[in-house]
Amino acid sequence: MNSAKHRILVTSHGHPDFHLGGGELAAYNLFKAYADHPDVEETFFLARHDRGRGPTGNIFPRRKNEYMWEQGVSEWLRMKMATPIGTTRHFAELIRELRPTIVHVHHYVHMGLEYLHVIKQIDPSIKIIMTLHEYIAICFNQGQMVKRGTNRLCFRESPDDCSRCFPEHSIEDFWLRKHRYQSFFGLVDQFVTPSEFLRQRYIDWGIAPDQIVMIENGQASGEMLPPRPLAEGETRNRFAFFGQINPFKGVSLLLQGLASLKKSERRKIVLEIHGANLEHQTPDFRDMIMELRGPLEKEGCLQWIGPYEPFQMAGRMAAVDWVVIPSIWWENSPMVIQEAFTLGRPLVGSDIGGMAEKITDGVDGVHVPVGNAKAWGDTLLRLSSCTEDWDRLRAGITKPISYADCARAHLELV
């Protein structure tokens, strides 16, 4: 162990004050947890921010040790910074000023890859840890590794595969894209992924296995919630979806699954949608969701509750039995899984990727064949008919690691 204490800068693509995404929260929580570690002298947080006036490149304080960076990306294919002086001058000044010994990079989207180089140029002894939250370096389709347009699952990248999804970009463009990512990733000392599945995908892509470890995102400490009290004759029939509503998250499968059941069957089920950002989706997608939603809400088996703040999560989970995660993309380590486990709620999830990894079928949750609406309907119906399964699966939950555990695991790497 170094005698000198660590000075850690955590960078994120957004500040949770403004963006409550999983990656932003994970970064921020880790920034807080690092500060409490005895080997750490000081911690800093830098989040990309958009004040609506374009990427000026400026950096400004948010509160003590927290900074905002008005940077952007000018070319998404190659993840190029929008404002060079924002990186070569303002970010460089920040590094010189803060003198971090570790920069923990939680993202490069909206900032460009170049800042990694600036860190090493100023002081090659600064260690760069990078947490990979999705497949963005591998896949230009928003890092989802599903085929553009059809949303079919994708198993590998190659210039030929990728330019079939994006014919407007040539094979050479995709070679250049990967080359650029790998050049910058070459500056990273240690990669971290919150799931083994994602780790393996990045190893297939070219990161050396000994350079990339799996560390699960930390969770708030605390006790499990008690089971939802059941009225006489009531079953474990309340399911809830938490998260973004977009084409990859599979909410439509839940709605179609319910619609495929008989009315009498539906009466036994209550599904709550705690979803955000539907308003930012394409009109076609919004119309499709609204069409499915209307009749089910009228019948009463669907409750459309809407977005939530982190502090509301426990209260909302207390009122349901199961948490569902029907994503049609691989996912990484969805925050909602760890939150549900922390609060003592078994999960029902798609049988692929990070969901299949984090939810053990028959132990702490149930797998559903990915993309299969009928199977979702049948599974909800089956699980809502009894209480024993639920009791057993709840007992099977392993408590996720805490923020402090997570910070400790990271510091053991350096």
Partner: protein, 583 residues
């Protein structure tokens, strides 16, 4: 009947006249002696009109005989079938015949045409023979032609193009206002289906009617006549005054010239006699003008003072590859301490943007480099030479901007391969983005369809050679990545700038290096990616590019015949592609 003239002409006695009947027999008498003579008939529209006959096609007659020995008076005897001959009485001779009268007697001109053919077209004798032929107003059947256009080059020469239909071997030529003569035989000829169709009743309508003729000298505003010597006399088939002035830059000239239609498979025949005589002086003068331009040099940081290598990279159209190269350069310790990097902007359109990008790249990556702006487009060779002019390295590494190293160490390995004094150039193993071979060596193949020798990259698409494979000798390597020791480069006097825009410069320089006694090697331990397809997005349409390639292939062949034929060079072992599937 009427006798118009009795005259001696060209060693013959000629009697010209007309008769109201075409079936009369006409004899030539001297006293009672009938002279051996030949009667021919020709049209006399004027007679037919005066006598109100429907056709004058055969009313005219001509009696042709050798000059009689006797001085006795001549008369003609005219006989109709079953009638007593009528005798004209003594005829008075006139001196000489008018040109119009001469054109009525084809036999009279045949010997003169034969005389004309016996001399070199345009020579003094030829001109004298020509002067003896009458000028005809109208071409006889089977002679047609049209001058479709004239291009004049600022260098003082030009081309005429059009078509001419004529019997094989007939004297046909182009004539300018200064009476310079260009026989049709020196033209490039090819078939014209449209002409063949339009004149299909003519026996030789399928001939190669189209012509393109190089005018070694031309005024700015020439008048060009397409002329032919026929049995009716000399006729002007077509005449055109004024020319289109060609631009002063090689590309502009080539675009104009190449638009004169010629099938790709015939283009090689044409290139030597038409295109190169026009292009060569234009390219030469353009190059001389470029030499007078003072390039701008922008320095970013301080490179090593006495570098082992100068890495010279021309930029044309795209420059986004710079950063990809920079990412690789700056993580290569050997390159950082032993090489200077020189970018040459070969495209005035991107100069400002490149300098801006260069500033960003230097701020970000801190790798020193120079940017040379030639201010005009010089092409691959010219840009490379400009870079070499500003290079301090003991070796020169010429690199395309779309060649991206894969890992550090490649430059050091290339230098190792050139350590041997008899090695004059080293190329790298270049891969396509999909990982297959793009280039490990260049060889040459004859393309029958085009009649040209073309460059070939064997092994394309195959798995790469192992990085552990030793360097091997090759006929030539690509210019996309080639290392040449400075003294060798100076000895062969740099990249050849005589080609049109680009092509073949790399094999040319390899041949020049071999001709100077050195070997050319490929170093498979130096493996880089070549995004080749991207290089050529900037050049004109397919037809233009094809013609440009043929033109350049012709020049390349003219200079390097002995390296191209025979195809297999005994000095260079045919290296088997040792595939390493583990690579």
């Amino acid at each position: 009947m009427f006798v118009d003239a009795v005259a001696r002409a060209d060693g013959k006695l000629v009697v010209l006249g007309w008769s109201s009947s075409a079936i009369v027999n006409i004899d030539l008498l001297q006293g009672t002696t009938k002279l051996p003579a030949k009667l021919s008939r020709h049209a006399r529209g004027d007679v037919a009109e005066a006598l109100k006959l429907t056709s004058g096609d055969t009313l005219g007659f001509c009696v042709l005989a050798d000059i009689p020995v006797s001085k006795a008076a001549l008369e003609v005897s005219v006989g109709l079938p079953n009638a007593k001959p009528y005798q004209s009485g003594a005829l008075g001779e006139v001196t000489g015949l008018t040109n119009l009268q001469r054109t009525l007697i084809p036999e009279l001109l045949e010997s003169k045409i034969a005389d004309l053919k016996a001399h070199e077209v345009g020579s003094v004798e030829w001109r004298e023979a020509l002067a003896k032929l009458p000028e005809a107003q109208k071409a006889p059947a089977g002679f047609h032609g049209f001058v479709e256009g004239i291009f004049v080059s600022p260098e003082g020469n030009g081309v005429v193009f059009g078509w001419a239909l004529h019997p094989e071997g007939a004297p046909v030529w182009l004539e300018d206002e200064l009476l310079n003569i260009y026989p049709i035989e020196v033209s490039f000829r090819r078939e014209r289906r449209d002409i063949a169709e339009a004149f299909k009743s003519i026996l030789w309508s399928d001939m190669e009617a189209a012509f393109i003729t190089h005018l070694p000298t031309s005024s700015k505003n020439p008048t060009i006549k397409l002329r032919a010597a026929t049995s009716s006399g000399v006729v002007t088939l077509s005449e055109r005054s004024g020319a289109e002035m060609l631009p002063s830059d090689p590309r502009g000239v080539a675009e104009k010239l190449f638009a004169i239609e010629t099938e790709d498979r015939n283009f090689q025949r044409r290139a030597n006699i038409i295109d190169w005589p026009i292009l060569q002086p234009v390219i030469k003068r353009y190059r001389e003008e470029l030499a007078t331009i003072v390039p701008r040099v922008a320095k970013f940081g301080a490179p090593p003072e006495t570098p082992a290598v100068s890495v010279i990279i021309p930029l044309y159209k795209r420059f986004d590859f710079m950063e990809h190269q920079m990412l690789e350069f700056c993580r290569d310790p050997f390159l950082r301490s032993n090489a200077e990097v020189i970018y040459v902007i070969d495209d005035p359109e991107i100069r400002t943007a490149v300098l801006n990008e260069a500033d960003h790249l230097f701020r970000l990556y801190g790798l020193p480099f120079k940017v040379i702006s030639g201010l005009r487009n010089r092409g691959f060779s010219g840009a490379n030479n400009l870079g070499a002019d500003h290079a301090n390295g003991a070796h020169l590494l010429f690199m395309n901007s779309d060649v991206i190293p894969i890992s550090p160490g490649w430059l050091e390995k290339m230098l190792e391969a050139v350590e041997d004094d008899n090695v004059g150039a080293v190329g790298a193993q270049l891969l396509f983005p999909d990982g297959g071979i793009q280039h490990i060596r260049m060889d040459f193949e004859y393309l029958d369809y085009f009649n040209i020798w073309s460059n070939n990259h064997p092994g394309s698409g195959m798995p790469p050679l192992a990085a552990t494979a030793p360097p091997f000798e090759v006929p030539a390597v690509t210019g996309a990545c080639i290392l040449i020791p400075r003294p060798v480069f100076d000895q062969i006097e740099a990249w050849d700038t005589g080609y049109l825009l680009g092509d073949f410069e790399d094999s040319h320089i390899c041949f020049a290096i071999r001709a100077a006694g050195y070997r050319v090697m490929c170093q498979p331990a130096s493996t880089l990616t070549h995004l080749e397809r991207q290089s050529f997005t900037g050049i004109g349409g397919d037809a233009f590019r094809m013609r440009m390639t043929i033109c350049n292939a012709v020049r390349h062949y003219n200079i390097w015949k002995e390296f191209l034929e025979p195809h297999s060079d005994p000095d260079v072992a045919d290296t088997d592609l040792q595939q390493d599937t583990d690579a």
